[in-house]
């Protein structure tokens, strides 16, 4: 019998322990923190897939989150159950990504970034006026509550968040080891050379964009099941961009473990600094600045540089060797 690599087992163990949290009486505030962490992690993972591995500085995650949230909310008013609304929200986000890909992929680098940044603003304005179902709200379109989620417990949303975060990690892991990952890295490093080497640059960028939009959408919709009220200012809020951006840059862009470390730090800071209002952003900005200057490859980059993973990996290898011997 082949023994699974211990690193895989260890991450599975972490997953199982986390999944047990709601049933073993962990304080509810912890579940709240962790849920926020999961959503931030899923967004950061996808932002890393785009910026870190495909070279697309995508500044419109809040478009995907807002659209998915609104799809869920509006769907819930016409009798769509929230489970279907969750998937529909992600699908609408991906569809939106498909529609905008043709114009925005014509731009490169900073122009792509700016091109994507204006989209959520346009959507925000649109949803201020557009209200397809229900009564007009304060003279305009604007806010919705999500109905039909009264029976969903914090434990349920916790599991949903955990599943989405785990799926996002697994997805990136698979992509990076597949042909797609090699092509995306080639595009990030040099678009022209990638094309000369036979890479269909547009198609591969589109794949990565659609995957990211779908996962960001589903993460956004999950958030609006957890906090079932959406309005244009909240749904298309730029903090949906800043969270994954900060998490990725602080953790380590283009490194697989970067967003995990970064999302943990960003979530922790968010709660730690929650009472300080505007100062919170100021402090986070300072931290971002320090990280960018002191460790341009993020915390994960620094950890790799000093060889921090060597000891646990060796330990795993030693333990694995022992197990192999005993099995024989």
């Amino acid at each position: 019998m082949k023994i699974p690599r211990l690193t895989t087992l260890a991450s599975l163990a972490v997953l199982v322990v986390l999944a047990l949290f709601p049933v073993i009486g962990i304080p509810l505030s912890w579940l709240n923190y962790l849920f926020t962490f999961f959503i931030c992690l899923a967004l950061a993972n996808m932002w890393n897939l785009l910026a870190g591995y495909t070279g697309l500085i995508c500044l419109c995650p809040h478009a995907f989150v807002g659209l998915a949230g609104y799809t869920l909310a509006i769907g819930s008013w016409v009798g769509v159950p929230f489970q279907a609304g969750l998937i529909a929200g992600a699908a609408v986000a991906a569809l939106f990504a498909l529609l905008i890909s043709f114009p925005v992929f014509r731009m490169r680098g900073i122009y792509f970034a700016i091109g994507t940044l204006i989209l959520p603003e346009a959507l925000k304005a649109w949803f201020n006026y557009w209200r397809p179902v229900g009564n007009v709200y304060q003279g305009m379109g604007a806010g919705y509550s999500v109905t039909g989620v009264e029976g969903v417990t914090l434990g349920d949303t916790f599991w949903l968040g955990l599943a989405i975060a785990a799926a996002s990690i697994f997805l990136v892991h698979i992509i990076l080891r597949a042909r797609l990952g090699l092509g995306l890295t080639a595009i990030r490093d040099n678009e022209n050379t990638a094309a000369s080497a036979g890479v269909n640059v547009f198609r591969l960028k589109l794949y990565s964009f659609l995957i990211a939009a779908f996962i960001m959408g589903i993460a956004g919709a999950a958030y609006y099941i957890y906090s079932p009220r959406i309005n244009p200012v909240g749904g298309f809020n730029i903090s949906w961009l800043l969270l994954p951006l900060m998490a990725t840059v602080i953790g380590g862009e283009g490194l697989e473990e970067g967003p995990i470390i970064g999302a943990a730090i960003v979530t922790f800071l968010r709660f730690l600094l929650a009472d300080y209002g505007a100062w919170s952003l100021f402090i986070q900005g300072i931290i971002l600045l320090v990280v960018v200057v002191v460790m341009p490859q993020g915390i994960a980059g620094l950890l790799r540089q000093v060889g921090a993973y060597r000891f646990p990996l060796r330990l795993f290898q030693a333990v694995e060797g022992r197990i192999h011997e005993n099995v024989k």
Binding site: R179, L182, G183, T185, A186, R188, D189, N190, N192, T193, A194, A195, S196, A197, G198, V199, N200, V201, G254
Partner: protein
Amino acid sequence: MSETAVLSIDRLNKHFGGIVAVKDLSFEVQAGEILGLMGPNGAGKTTLLNMIAGTYSPSSGRVNFCGRDITGLPAHRLCHLGIARTYQIPQPFTSLSARQNILVATKYAGKKAAGMEHDKIFDLVNLSEQKDMLARDLATVSLKRLELARALASNPTLLLLDEVAAGSTDAELPRILGIIEEIRKMGKTVVLVEHVMKVMVEAVDRIIVIDKGEKIAEGTPGEVMKDEKVIAAYFG
């Protein structure tokens, strides 16, 4: 157009705004031939390669490859059809190792590239000892060879080489000539842009000289070197 032509260029033009980079250029390259492209700086050689490889589309005119009109096709399609190119200034995938650099080509260039043996390519271009190094850590000379390796890895019919010898020392030239000779033995058709005269004279079958985007001379290396227009273009 003759039947054995791998590449056939017909009245090709390219202008950038008011600047004419390539003007009414026509020529053919036969199967297995090594054609040299010469010309002073800014003559339009690289622009021409860019149009054949799909980086630019021509303003007018036709490009035929193996009897097929490929004018304006995107670069990745041309790679799939069998055209590979190197860049004058090496353009590697900097975060990947040398081996992964050419893996991109073998994985994405289609079926014809599937059986390419990386070790043989690395041996040919003399990069075997550096194949696990990251491209960003390689010296310029090695990066030039990596360009060649990546182009060969897609197993092309037509190879466009943009100044592979530029920047090499005299001592390295025999090696480069040897590589070009090996490529000829593989039966590949080559268009070679080069400033290093020794390479031009020894490696190519035929030379086309362009100046200000126009063809001014064509013939064997010996003939071209004596051509008055060529001497005038180079020495004024």
